[in-house]
């Protein structure tokens, strides 16, 4: 059992690159090609909505990989990762709100619509700078990163771990949800930020813009993949796993557990923020429900379904769960929760290593057979 997961912790280089290239070809070449080159009535044609949908899943996949870095490898089950995702989303959303300019319903160039009709007189200071894309792009990483750093520093320094850590992270995202709900906060309350028109001058309602965002997301996922692989294959990756197994023992070896966790947590939060920033222009809305504790739990569930502590698992999990959700909410709108619930139960019972484990298990069985 353990040795199986192990194969995936340090995948043979050849296997890794093969998988990586296959995914790259699929998402970077095949999907766009099938969308752009094939006629709409072809059986293999990938319709526009599908491209957007896959783009959304890709964002979830990045988020899941970020989650996996802290949870799968470092054993820190954050139930607040949705917060970092949402903050990244809000940062880019603020930029897109600002770039609406005077095209809002009230034609007010200085204030977003939601501020106008709730009588705000001027833009709050924390909106300053979001007129500029690069500032916003920086904030996409800086805000989740800084929050994770401060929060993590406090928590890990105090040696909050296990469920205690999970619950305080949940409290964090819950508090943020309530805070962003408040209209006084100046982030559009429950409705959040909507009515985006364009990003960097590209019209968001254009299919070409959507395709561009899709491709960008794919590239970022690829980069995330490489980054996570680099980190987890390093000695630090092994220290992270050691922390997961026996945190206090790691300290007696002279490693700073706080430092290791803080590194993983902050890096993960930054990745989550980037995922959120790619997500928001594609779905067209960001609101406080993204902070809801249930959302964060779901992220953990994608990772678990795919296979915790493996490189590919989170991506598989994010696609499988969200794909199932998309399909079932349309195909069986009244019964889909049964199917999804059953999926979660079955995966846990039958595939303790997640979907990746299924694959590895099959391989192992084949090898075993051929050895016999």
């Amino acid at each position: 059992m353990h040795s199986l997961s192990h194969l995936f912790l340090n995948p043979g280089d050849r296997r890794f690159w093969a998988g990586f290239t296959a995914l790259g070809v699929l998402f970077l070449l095949l999907v766009p090609a099938l969308n752009l080159l094939l006629p709409a009535d072809s059986a293999l044609h990938v319709p526009n909505y599908m491209v957007t949908l896959i783009g959304k899943y890709l964002c979830y996949a990045i988020l899941a990989m970020a989650m996996n870095l802290v949870w799968g490898y470092c054993g820190v089950l954050s139930l607040g990762h949705g917060a970092f995702f949402a903050l990244g989303g809000y940062a880019i959303g603020m930029y897109m709100m600002r770039s609406i300019g005077a095209r809002g319903v009230y034609g007010n160039a200085d204030l977003p619509d939601f501020m106008v009709f709730l009588n705000w007189k001027e833009l709050p200071w924390y909106w300053l700078g979001f007129d500029h894309f690069w500032f916003a792009a920086l904030m996409v990483m800086a805000i989740p990163g800084a929050l994770a750093f401060v929060f993590g520093w406090l928590a890990f320094r105090s040696r909050i771990n296990g469920v205690y850590l999970s619950i305080v992270t949940q409290a964090m995202t819950y508090a943020l949800m309530l805070a962003f709900f408040r209209n006084e906060m100046g982030f559009g309350g429950n409705n959040g930020l909507t009515d985006f028109k364009d990003i960097l001058g590209f019209d968001l309602s254009q299919d070409a813009t959507k395709m561009g965002l899709y491709l960008l997301t794919t590239l970022v996922l690829g980069a995330t993949f490489l980054l996570v692989r680099f980190v987890t294959a390093s000695k630090l990756g092994r220290v992270m796993m050691a922390v997961r197994d026996a945190e206090s023992r790691v300290r007696f070896l002279g490693y700073s557990v706080t430092g290791v966790k803080l590194f993983a947590f902050t890096l993960s939060a930054v990745l989550a923020g980037i995922a959120g920033a790619l997500y928001v222009p594609q779905v067209g809305i960001i609101n406080p429900s993204e902070f809801s504790p249930a959302n964060s739990i779901e992220i953990a569930i994608w990772v678990a379904v795919g296979g915790r502590g493996t490189l590919l698992g989170p991506v598989l999990g994010a696609f499988a769960v969200n794909g199932a959700k998309t399909w079932l909410t349309g195909a069986a709108p009244e019964l889909w929760l049964f199917a999804l619930g059953a999926l979660f139960i079955l995966v846990t019972l039958a595939l303790p290593k997640g979907l990746v484990g299924l694959w590895a298990g099959l391989r192992a069985r084949v090898t075993e057979k051929s050895n016999d």
């Binding site: 353990h2 997961r244 023992r249 430092g259």
Partner: protein, 264 residues
């Protein structure tokens, strides 16, 4: 963090014990009113090998907990290298000073391989960034192989440590201690669960380590033959304080030690 920066850290007012590697002065630890250590004092000199014996519950493990930063003493001073106050430092800072420990109950990283367990213990920079960028050198690889041989796990480097038997875990822990190459080594019952032959091998290993004056060792054991094989000065703890100290023969002759510990 390098050793130098830590060495320069300020310590308690005016406390210094030059010429000692470990200086424990009237340390008291109590748990809900129970005194596990009772004004314990103990001095280890650089390069010294010391064995510690004493009844179950005498406070031997607790003493090691205090030295390695796991337990904070209620009172008393613990100085390393004559001047570094250990009572205010965290476990990892203390480890980085040069203090290594083998636990009474073997604790290894169960989901890492034997090799990786040793690799993590390898002496090198421990800060997060260096760890991220770490590459195993040929020399280090060689060192790990060497230790694998020493602890009898040469044919199991790829095995997950969790699958080792109890005794094998003991050996792996010893191996990890060797990898760290620390100045002060604390060994809590290193031969528990070993066969007589292995016990002898361990004794040799320890004596070997002791040859290098860079190492100071504190060994806790209940196996008198092993203690004899080490031939070192013996300290007897009882109810949290030192009951007797001297050569093994002297200690064994002490009536009180016989009564509370050795039995008739």
């Amino acid at each position: 963090m390098t050793d130098d920066t830590l060495m320069d850290q300020p310590h308690g007012p005016g406390i210094a014990a030059p010429g000692t590697i470990l200086y424990v002065d009237s340390v008291t630890v109590s748990f809900d009113g129970f005194r596990a250590l009772n004004e314990l004092s103990l001095v280890i000199e650089p390069g010294e090998l010391r064995t510690i014996i004493g009844p179950n519950g005498a406070g031997k493990t607790t003493m090691m907990d205090v030295i390695t930063g796991k337990t904070r003493p209620d009172q008393g001073d613990v100085l390393f290298d004559g001047h570094v106050d250990l009572t205010k430092m965290t476990e990892d800072q203390i480890a980085n000073l040069g203090i290594g420990r083998k636990f009474q109950k073997p604790t290894v990283f169960e989901h890492l391989t034997v090799f990786e367990n040793l690799e993590l213990a390898l002496k090198c920079k421990r800060d997060t960034l260096s760890t991220l960028l770490f590459r195993l050198s040929g020399e280090q690889q060689h060192r790990i192989d060497q230790v694998l041989g020493t602890v009898g796990l040469k044919d199991k480097p790829r095995m997950l440590a969790g699958a080792l038997s109890h005794g094998q875990k003991q050996w792996l822990e010893i191996g990890m201690l060797l990898m760290q190459d620390q100045r002060l080594l604390l060994l809590d019952e290193p031969v528990a669960g070993m066969t007589d032959a292995e016990t002898e091998a361990t004794a040799e290993l320890i004596l070997d380590l002791h040859k290098d004056p860079h190492h100071s060792l504190v060994v806790v054991e209940h196996d008198m033959e092993f203690v004899r094989a080490l031939g070192a000065r013996v300290t007897v703890l009882h109810e949290g304080s030192v009951l007797a100290e001297g050569s093994l023969d002297a200690v064994q002759a002490n009536a009180k030690v016989v009564e509370v510990y050795l039995g008739r």
